[in-house]
Amino acid sequence: MRAYIFRRLLAMAATLLGVSVIVFTMMRLIPGTVVEQLLGQSALVGEETIRALREFFGLDRPWYVQYVDWLGGLLRGDLGMSWRSNRPVLSLILSRLPVTAELALLAVAWSLLIGIPMGVVAALRRGATLDSVIRFASTLGLSVPAFWQGTLLILLFSIYLQWMPSIQWVSIRENVWANLSIIALPALTLGTATAAMISRMTRSTMLDVLGCDYVRTARAKGLREPRVVRHHALRNALIPVITVAGVQMGYILGGIVVVEDVFNLPGIGRLLLDAIFQRDYPVVQGTILVGAALFMGLNFLVDLLYAAIDPRIQYE
């Protein structure tokens, strides 16, 4: 097990190195740099000024020097400085992290809360109308684009019902109610597709498990159905669901960008979009890198968790 963890970590580091190369290269391939953004549309300056600004931002150095420089910083835990605001990228990300983390956690929480019971019920009522309804609903949930769902919720709540949460971010420590009123709809939107996915997965693993010998044995012993479901079936059915939740983190991390845009949340997704539009390379690089690292890290954790609860799985 220890060897496995070590190997995985090593592979992750290698992959992250690859990610850093790709992110860095992508940013350097963009036509136009922060210099053009800074000058803006009204700036009609000569080549000389542009050269001076390129020098100012270190863009005149060969790209590999810039990369090595950046990588060196990364290894020291320094993601560089934002070109536009001259703040450390890491502190920009950390200042937005609470918003994004809360959004993601709430989204996962509610998708598990809704998805698992729906899946279990559908499996127990296999073939009945309720099953069909749940299956249809979960396929529908998978099919609704998050930004459209968000738009509909805004239309309903803020335009028709005139429900207006605070426009300034309020953290959960400052005021729980104000915080929840800001983040409830975004989390709902972000979690919908995941809830649908989990419900589908739970249903199919439940069906597998319910057909297994040990469940039949349990029933044959005369145990009552709820007990069979809770103690024997559900526990085993949920193991693969955890994997799905892990894979879904990728979806959620991507969805965060869209949902934060729709609901105007000052999270990391917003930071990334702004930075892309402003060609603030260090911020874009840092944010995507952190996103990829989080994604890989979560998947790794899920794998470990999987091993911890399913004794059949042994990592060599």
């Binding site: 459209w148 990334l272 996103g291």
Partner: protein
């Protein structure tokens, strides 16, 4: 191995959702092909006298800020949105399959190298990767196609590689090799055809995600650009007018949802049939 069309027909009769999905997708494809004939108005004809009309008999879906008929724009949007999804997944399937086939067949060095590269791409949450690519290439149809293709190539690579590895264990491949068939011949004649079913399911699922990614990019303003009417672009244009003309945001979203739903029904149906472990 039965031809795909036969499988489809047999499933249609047995699975109503699969049938519904097939009907939705077929309708959309026909709509897309016939768009210029079916749409009541040209999709980019501006009429300052008809700005922001709510849905009516003349304009079933209403009009936008340019007085353009939304129904016509959404119908032309089928072409753009499904076209982009089809093209990008087509490219991803081709590229991913070829690479997966090579990796799975030759293993060792080839597999190691390709696998590492694909892992790197896999490490990006898909929307983030697509966002990055579209920032590099500049907004537009071509960019969106490339972005989605790059995002999905690693997936097809993995699917293909896994099924090739599985097929290789089987006796008939060994038999073919033992009678001296060359590696290319074995790959194309024997292995490739038998990897098709997982691939088909994957294509159907990926198409639905491709539609979602395209619309998300366009909605964020980094995808398809106006006046080209993709569903995401129309939604982006409608964002500003939500309080006064919500219909601009309503209908294209509905079409995105319907097409994705149709594809999901189809892929569920196929999976049930082709992957019996999950049969319901």
């Amino acid at each position: 191995m039965r031809p795909v069309s036969r499988i489809w027909l047999s499933r249609l009769r047995r699975n109503p959702l699969f049938a519904a999905g097939t009907i939705i997708i077929t309708t959309f494809v026909i709509l897309g092909i016939l768009a210029p004939y079916v749409a009541p108005y040209p999709p980019i004809a501006v009429d300052a006298m008809k700005m922001f009309q709510s849905p009516s008999r003349d304009h079933l879906f209403g009009t936008d800020r340019f007085g353009r008929d939304l129904l016509s724009r959404v119908i032309h949007g089928v072409r753009v949105s499904l076209g982009i999804a089809g093209l990008s997944i087509g490219i991803a399937t081709a590229a991913g399959s070829v690479l997966g086939l090579l990796a799975g067949y030759f293993e060792r060095g080839v597999d190691q190298t390709l696998g590492r590269v694909m892992d790197v791409f896999f490490a990006f949450p898909s929307v983030l990767l697509a966002l990055g690519i579209s920032a590099v290439l500049g907004a537009g149809v071509r960019t969106v196609v490339i972005a989605i293709a790059v995002v999905y190539t690693p997936l097809f690579f993995r699917v293909m590689r896994a099924s090739v590895l599985a097929e290789k264990q089987l006796t008939y491949v060994e038999a073919a090799a033992s009678i001296g068939a060359g590696s290319w011949k074995i790959m194309l004649r024997h292995i490739l055809p038998n990897t098709l079913s997982p691939l088909i399911v994957q294509v159907a699922v990926s198409l639905s995600y491709a539609i979602l990614i395209e619309s998300a990019l366009s909605y964020l303003g980094v995808g398809v650009q106006p006046p080209t009417p993709s569903w995401g672009t129309i939604l982006n244009e409608g964002k500003e007018f939500l309080p006064i003309s919500p219909w601009i945001s309503l209908f294209p979203g509905l079409f995105i949802m319907l097409s994705v739903l149709g594809l999901n029904f189809v892929s569920d149906g196929l999976r049930d049939y082709l992957d019996p472990r999950l049969r319901t």
